[in-house]
Structures are given as C-alpha cells and as structure tokens.
Amino acid sequence: MQELVTISTLNGVLYGMLLFLMASGLTLIFSMMGVLNFAHASFYMLGAFFGFQIGQIVGFWPAFIIAPVLVGGIGALVERYALRHVHRHGPVAELLFTFGLAFIIEELVQMVWGKGPADYRVPASLDYPAFTIFSTNYPAYKMFELLTAVAIFVVLFVVLKRTRIGLIIQASITHAPMVAMLGHNVPRVFMLVFGVGTGLAAVAGVIAGPALVTQSNMAAALGPILFVVVVVGGLGSLAGAFVASLLIGLVQTFAVSVNLSVADVLGRIGVAPPTGGALFDVWNVTVAEIAPIMPYLLLVLILILRPTGLMGTPEH
C-alpha cells in the first residue's frame, strides 16, 4: 500500500508538472490578453520539431534555448501581423483565427517533417536514472522536466506580480487607454506577451518531445487536456493552472491504480450486483478503465459547480 501511494504520488506529480509546463503559456496569454489560443498546442508541436531539428545540428542544450526563441519570434510575428487585425473584430474572430492557425501549422509540419514520428531522443547527459524507489527508476530527464516547470511557474509569478513589467502588462488588459496615455506601447506589450506565451509552449515541446512521441498529430492529441487544466484552474489564473495540473496528474494516476467497479462496491456492502441488463457494462467498468476520462469529468463538474474554476476571478 505504501509502495502504491508513493509511486502513484510521484508519477502524478511528474505528470502534473508536464501538464503545467504545457499549459503555462496558454494561461499566460489568456490572462494577459484575453485570447483563448487554440493554436497553443501547435506552437508546442513546433517547439518539439524545432528542438529535434536544431538538436541534430548543435545538440540538445543549445536547441533548448534556440527553439523556444525562434518559436516565440514566430508567435510575436503572428500577433503583430495577423492577430492584431483580427482582435478588432472581437473574441469570436480571434478564437476562429487561432483555430484555423492550428490546422495550418499541422499541415506545414507534415509537409516539412512528414506524418511519421521523428526519432527525437533524450540527451545523453540526462539519460540515466536519477533515483530508484521500490525498484522503480525515475529518470533524470523527468526531474529536469519537473524543475523546469517549477522554475517557469516561479519566474512567471514573480515577474507578473512583483515587477514593473508585470504591473504594466496587468494594467494593459484592464486599462489599455490609460496605460497608453502614460506612454507605454500597449500593442507591443501584447506582442511581447504572445511571443513569450508561444515561446513557453515551445519550451514544453522541446522537453516533452523526447519523452512523448514527436509527430504531426501531437498537437491535436494534447490540445483538449490543456483546456481542461486552464478551465479547472480558473481561466487566466497562473496559480490556478499550477494547482489544477497537479490535481489532474494525481487524480488520473491514482485512478489508474484503482481496480474497483460499482459492482464490487455494491458487493462489499452486501448488495447483489446486477448480473445482466443494459447497464451491465456500467456497473462493471473499473475506475482504472476510465481514468484518462477523469479530467474531463472534473471539467464538467467544475463548470457546473464553480464556473470560475478553482482560483479564477469573475469576469470583470
């Protein structure tokens, strides 16, 4: 039992931090610009492929810096030359724009790298088990993943809440004309935020690429769960996204290890479980079998019971 709890907690935290890594840029862009970026997972994919390609030439570590900068640059250009114009037509137009952008990026990635998976590997310098608990190895690469996620959270939090830049960014969303009057270039602030947000997606891509599968459908596969993280955490709340990532990671991981079904529970409290009928499957499905659906269940429940999410603020 102790073994199961320890291992599940560790796995849950690691998975949760991976989720936060991917969702941090999305929540940053939403909280600071009010744009729900559907193409976020696509920038994440671009990060993975850039990291793979650049890494082939200069090695993993330089690629870890270069790829996010490049992708962030592309993000900034997208904001400057496209999103800014679309912005005038309201949030629905923006949403549709980023939605379309996701398909374009996927197609471009397929043209350049093909449809099969890329052979993107963990760098040799991190390819060893960091420690072993109950004879299960925890690779150094996963620790690196965890540390990066925590570092990103801390840096973002401090910059947004404790510095002048953060102050200007926060003021830009609620009091744009006033910030402009004070002599700040508001559009440039937005461009910067979008660039940093997409750059963060790319950081996640470079790191997750070798750990998961780097191929042209990775964006589509990941997109939905990121929205769950952001919504459960509270749209636009960085701390909320952090907590939600951990929560989802832990819930999903623990659920996998539970082999109980409704029928089992009924059996234990002395009620004879049904032996047939249309709902037979429902009674006998185990918690483990539906574990990966748990986050979506959480999403639905949160929207019903607490629409602002765990730590979101009501609409201004």
Binding site: L18, T136, T253
Partner: protein, 420 residues
C-alpha cells in the same frame, strides 16, 4: 502443383524485375487500365499509417506494370481519403464505384472494414452484373470472416484470432513465462485480443498465471507510468499487448523509464514508430511481434523484394500481405482470363498460392480468410546475415519461430451466401 510453379516464377520474376521497374515506364492509355481504389486515412491522425499503405500499393502497381500489368492492362491505384470515419468510407466507396472502379482495397480499422463489407454485399445484391470486390489487407477483427462474412470480401491479413493462435503456440514453448499481464486498447480489437489471450493461454499453458488484465482508452493516454507501476507491482514477467501507434510507443517508453524488465508479446511493434520506441526504450531481444513476414528471413526472393522496395520507397515493407494480395489478384485475373469481378472472385475463392515469404498459403473458400505461415520475431541489434534494420535504428527483426500454415488454423462460423 502447376499453380505453385507459376507462383514461384512470379516471386522470382518480381524480384528480378523490381529494379527494372524504375526504368521502364509502362505504356498505357486511360482505357487500358484496371483501377484499384485505395480507401484509407490520408489526412488527420491516421494519415501516417494510410500514407505507408498507399506508397506500398503504388510500388506494387509499378512492379506489376513493369511485368506487363494485369492481362496486359496497366494497374492503377486510385487513393480515396476515408478520414478514419465509417460514413466517409462509404461515401468514398460510392465515389469509386461511380467512377467505374470495380475493385477496392482497405485495411485500417475493422469498424470501417465492416461498414464497407456490408455496403459492398448489398450493392452487389442490387446491381447484378456490376459487382464490386473488396480486398481487405489489414483489418483483423475476426467477425469480418465469421458472423459478418461475405463472398465479396477477401482478407489477406491473418485475423486477430489467427495471430493469437500463432502467438500462443509460440508462447507455450517459452517456459520462462510464469506470470502474464495483458494491456490493451479499449475498443473491439483490443477486447478481442484480451479475450482470446485469456482463452488460449488458459488452454495451452494453464500453469501461467494471468496477473493483470487492463484496458485503457484508445489513443488518449499521455502518461503510461501508472500502468507500468501496476505491471511492476503485479510481478509479471511477460506482457501481451495489441497496442499500436502512439499507444505502443508511449507504453514502451514509460516501461523503459521505470526500468521495467519484462518480455513484450505484441501485434504491432513493427508499425511506424514502433522500432524507434523499442530502441529508445533499450529493450534488445525482449520485444516480440507476430507477422506474416520478417524482413531478415533467409528467403532470397523476399529479401530481393525488400531491398528494392526500401531503395525506392524508403520504408520497411510493412505489408507483405499486400504483395500477396496484388500477386493473387493478377493470378486470378489471368486464370479467369477476365477482369470481370465475379470471375476473378471465383478464382480467388479457395486459391492456393506460394506466399511472399515462401511457403504455402490458401484463401479458404468457407470464409475468404487467407492462411499463411506466421512468424515470431524479436527486435535487437542486427547480427550477421541480418541485412535489414528498422527505421535506421541499427536494430532489426530476428526470426524466433515459424508457425506453419496448418498450425494457424482456426474455425469459422461463416455461412457464406454464394452467388448462384
């Protein structure tokens, strides 16, 4: 006997002319072609798989045409994108039929295969004289040649029961298997693998303890480490999985990360991205796969073909069964001296054939399921006399066991409705 000799000649000729295929353009006009509609995903999540199939069939058409085509006509593959959707598959079949195509092939996804099989059967009922044949090269749900069988459907891939029969016939000889874990995708195919594995292992090696039987949602899991933790906790020494695509790759990566040391008995470790994952997971000689062909099998005609195929298409020949399909199609047309689908079908029905990898195969008349020798191979660093590696990993398939045609036999419940 003569058919065997012809087939042998074909195999040799295919290898010999493979190289010539790139040089010799086959002259043919539009009306001199016989078209085969290829209906599989060419966009979206399944595209990476559909693309490989299309390249394979295009290459096969090229080789066939270099040898004079089908009854002197040029074989042309016409791609249709079914977007991994049953409704869309039928729309595409209809489109193909409307443009005059009488032969269609599809393989990815048994649900779509079932839809097409049913559609073709009904179409042929309603349109006598305009029959259409459906060649299935990869959809393995047993039901297609059992309860839902159709005279117009021919399956060249071993169905999942046959694969499990062959796999368990090999596993029963592996005395080091004591505790077995099953992990599969939660849909019809994964459930079939799970049920058959339980049944057959229970019958052939009752001493093996099944310590876990897990299903997970199809293509939705990003982090397999909790599943690996369960496998580890169960004390299993071997795992059977029907997982494919990213579900296979992520599962193995998570296993490698956690340092799980077990033997993996799989259906699709050879699929796109599979060998890369096995190499990344660093599990040499511990991942087994069941297939109807092994690249490194020492059968000269197949090796020649594989070599020429890789040189041209730049991927592994993942579908030796597609080679059988096209060769048997050509043979049936020639024996019938006609491209009329009913006549071709009558020849394919019960046809005996020397298969791509050598050995005897036959298209069982009872259910139109093709039977052929099956091979168990495992993946590891290539040694001598192993010319082929996979996905440039330096690792290749090594043949571990051959299950000859008679030992792959499974019964069928098919009551075939034959045209009078």
């Amino acid at each position: 006997m003569t058919s065997h000799i012809t087939a042998m000649l074909y195999a040799t000729a295919a290898a010999a002319t493979a190289a010539a295929a790139f040089i010799m353009p086959a002259p043919a006009g539009a009306e001199d072609t016989v078209k085969l509609a290829y209906i599989d995903p060419l966009s979206g999540g399944g595209a990476s798989i559909g693309e490989v199939g299309l390249k394979t069939f295009n290459y096969l058409a090229e080789v066939t045409n270099a040898k004079g085509g089908v009854l002197g006509k040029k074989l042309e593959i016409v791609p249709y994108d079914n977007k991994l959707n049953a409704q869309e598959s039928l729309v595409q079949v209809q489109k193909a039929i409307d443009s005059g195509i009488r032969f269609i092939t599809q393989g990815n996804g048994s649900a779509f295969a079932a839809a097409i099989e049913d559609f073709v059967a009904k179409y042929n009922d309603r349109n006598p004289g305009k029959e259409v044949l459906y060649f299935n090269y990869a959809a393995v749900d047993p039901v297609l040649t059992n309860d839902k069988c159709s005279y117009w459907h021919f399956r060249w891939d071993a169905n999942s029961d046959i694969k499990m029969t062959a796999l368990t016939n090999y596993m029963k000889t592996r005395m080091n298997i004591k505790k077995l874990y099953l992990i599969n995708q939660d849909y019809s195919f994964g459930q079939a693998v799970r049920a058959e594995a339980r049944k057959m292992i229970g019958a052939k090696r009752p001493d093996i303890e099944i310590v876990g039987d897990e299903v997970h949602p199809l293509l939705k899991v990003t982090d397999f480490s909790p599943y690996i933790a369960k496998i580890k906790a169960s004390g299993a020494d071997s795992v059977i999985t029907g997982n494919w695509g990213q579900d296979f790759a992520l599962l193995l990566k998570a296993a490698a990360d956690a340092g799980l040391q077990v033997d993996w008995y799989t259906y699709y470790a050879g699929g796109t991205g599979g060998p890369t994952a096995v190499k990344q997971a660093n599990l040499p000689d511990r991942v087994f796969a069941i297939a109807e062909g092994v690249a490194n099998e020492p059968y000269a005609p197949a090796r020649e073909f594989e070599k020429a195929f890789r040189a041209k298409v730049n991927v592994t020949l993942f579908y030796p069964r597609a080679v059988n399909e096209i060769r048997m199609f050509v043979k049936a047309a020639e024996e019938a001296n006609s491209l009329e689908p009913t006549k071709v079908a009558a020849k394919l029905d019960g046809m005996k054939f020397t298969v791509y990898d050598g050995g005897d195969g036959f298209m069982r008349a009872d259910d139109h399921q093709f039977f052929q020798p099956m091979y168990i191979a495992n993946l590891g660093p290539i040694g001598k006399d192993q010319p082929f590696d996979e996905e440039n990993t330096g690792w290749g398939w090594k043949m571990m066991g051959k299950i000859d045609t008679p030992d792959t036999n499974v019964s069928t419940t098919c009551k075939m409705n034959r045209p009078s």
